[in-house]
Symmetry: C2
Subunit: 390 residues, 2 copies
């Protein structure tokens, strides 16, 4: 009687046995949650004379104006995106954009090009809308443009889904020339380029890159991002910037999804930026995550056997590892959690290809684990891997 909704919930893999040091989740470090800031904001503005009525009453679907203004001025303009607040919609977390965009564009059987490996929670959304996901090759710098163009010609996709900056799961970042090329292909072939960019502001080294959207001259690129990494995932806020015609339709679909996002959350988030708390918070969390990334790179090189390959991300939450000796990371996971009390996500889970693709790979998240635990967790993982070598 019901339609199928194949949805894994590995996102929540980090809420496991407390003895396990988990590199599986993608949650922010608790120290990076602005609890004291939100407490003070609520104390200031949650009054009848202040923003109390605004936070608790109904409102329009697009999101409160000062939050949309902040998105344009503080988060988009510095990256070279000149956006009008009327062309921005506040959504209930970054994932909701994928749902709204699918509701707008995707008919059963439509093809969506995805990265290989890709962020599977979005593939679950694409599956729910009965899209067919076709993987595109990645090299050390992300999507390979020649393969994307070949797949466009072969499959006539409705959409290309990419996480261009510090990609989940690999941590890879698409260089400027490929960003330009991808936007151009979206226009040339009239394909939607869905740019999912929640990690953009979580950079620890290297130079900022302009979003794909800055190279878009036809409106084929849709830019999605989130407040989950820079403010809080629990409040569930994100945003989408696209050409006005799409934004108008996305507002209608948002209305028919949940009317609007939580205004208590929107007011808290808007005030966080308005009161000038973001710059200090941003520096603080980048320092914390940089230290954790460095600790993991160090521990990886110290404890993992020769022949192990891994990415060195300039930002974000994740590193991608390929093990030597053809070790099957899915088989090894049971022993990892049970005997070595360390967790990761096996590579297979990030490939739409299925089968043995990614069998010897795994994703490590350093975002939620402090350096001493990273050191200890990697020591455990290292000795486990050693014991699995042929």
């Amino acid at each position: 009687m019901e339609k199928s909704a194949r949805v894994m919930q590995t996102l929540f893999g980090s809420f496991a046995n407390p003895n396990v040091i988990s590199f599986a989740g993608g949650s922010p470090a608790p120290a990076c949650l602005p609890i004291e800031e939100v407490h003070d904001i609520m104390d200031k503005v949650m009054t009848r004379e202040g923003r109390g009525v605004e936070a608790l009453q109904y409102n329009r679907p697009q999101g409160i104006p000062d939050l949309r203004q902040t998105i344009c001025d503080t988060l988009l303009a510095p990256k070279g995106v000149q956006a009008d607040p009327d062309d921005v919609v506040v959504v209930s977390g970054g994932l909701e954009t994928m749902n709204l965009v699918c509701q707008l564009f995707i008919e059963p059987g439509d093809v969506i090009l995805v990265e290989s490996p890709t962020f599977m929670h979005c593939v679950e959304i694409f599956d729910m809308f009965q899209a067919r996901c076709v993987p595109c090759q990645m090299d050390d710098h992300g999507l390979v443009m020649e393969d994307v163009e070949e797949k466009i010609r072969q499959y006539h996709p409705k959409m290309i889904y990419t996480v261009p900056t510090f990609q989940n799961p690999t941590g890879k970042t698409l260089p400027a020339d490929r960003r330009r090329r991808l936007a151009e292909m979206g226009s040339a072939y009239d394909v939607i380029v869905l740019e999912d960019d929640p990690y953009r502001d979580i950079r620890y080294s290297g130079e900022d890159l302009a979003p794909i959207k800055t190279y878009d001259t036809t409106g084929n690129t849709i830019l999605a991002s989130s407040f989950s990494k820079i403010f809080s995932p629990g409040v569930r806020l994100g945003y989408v910037y696209a050409k006005h015609d799409y934004i108008r339709k996305i507002c209608d679909i948002k209305t028919a999804t949940n009317s609007h996002s939580s205004l208590l959350a929107e007011v808290a988030c808007a005030e966080f930026f308005k009161q000038g708390l973001y710059p200090a918070h941003h520096k603080k969390i980048c320092d914390i995550y940089r230290t954790q990334r460095d600790a993991m790179v160090l521990a990886l090189d110290r404890y993992m056997p020769e022949g192990t390959r891994h990415t060195n991300p300039d930002g974000g939450f994740f590193m991608w590892v390929q093990l030597p000796g053809g070790i099957d990371t899915t088989d090894m996971l049971v022993e990892a959690a049970r005997d070595y009390h360390v967790a990761y996500v096996a590579g297979r889970g990030f490939y739409v290809e299925g089968g043995d693709t990614g069998k010897d790979e795994l994703r490590l998240s350093f975002s939620g684990v402090e350096p001493p635990q990273i050191e200890e967790g990697m020591r455990r993982l290292g000795s486990l891997v050693q014991s699995w070598l042929p």
Copy 2:
């Protein structure tokens, strides 16, 4: 290229010209928003030792346990619904349940039986999922069971959508015997009965009625409700209670919609009940709304011409009016807003039948207007109607 999403936004009709006394919206009275309570709750719990991490971090899709426990103990058990918190999902406002349930059950072309008149914002959701809405007759006591059964036999619907208590737009309430019969028909014909019951606790007179769900023996009835009327619409929180198999699937779809609802909002709402603030708040808002309902009934009878028919709701936010003399309420609306500075929603907008159905009817909301404005607004509406009589 895009799919159609026909969505009106009359829900937001109340944000109009401030000189206009608007009976058009369905927003709570500002005095009924628990601003001071939420301020104090945030001050107490938004700390690192308290519930700060819980409110700002990721969590599972189903909703925080103490909120689901409160829903069962405080909101469902007193109405005769014995629910297990594991069979409840917290959603982002009442409307989201309709979206999630459509995503689970509705294929393009499926028939959904709706009330005539009905809550059009849900019809917009049903339209988005390309369902075909078939109206069923209502009398003074709501849906006419004989007509519902005839339509079930004729159209083999996937679902029946009803607002059984203080219905939007009419304020009508379905009596116990019809509730039992509707649940029985859902089981007998294997049709989903989607019971949308957000006004249940906003009763000013008469006896409580058990939800349709209490008569359901097969799991065909799905109970949806909202915190928008009893706590705050801005926080966007609601809940759905159904049999476990459906709840598990709704959790998966919720994950693929927006991961989970705003935990800042969930924590605020859970603490509102946990700290025992609901009973006093509930009495306060029912007293305010009762006074406004009484003022509107009085003013209606005083100012509207002979031959005007209207409902006398025992609760909720709305009254339904039929004018004498075949006055077209859609035509009259322009003059109402422009010259008489009074607003309502014309009857046509609530009928899926289209055409002239409901042409001489209108919906009045008394929820957001204080008694003196109700008196003045109805005086204006009365003289306008007088001037339109043949």
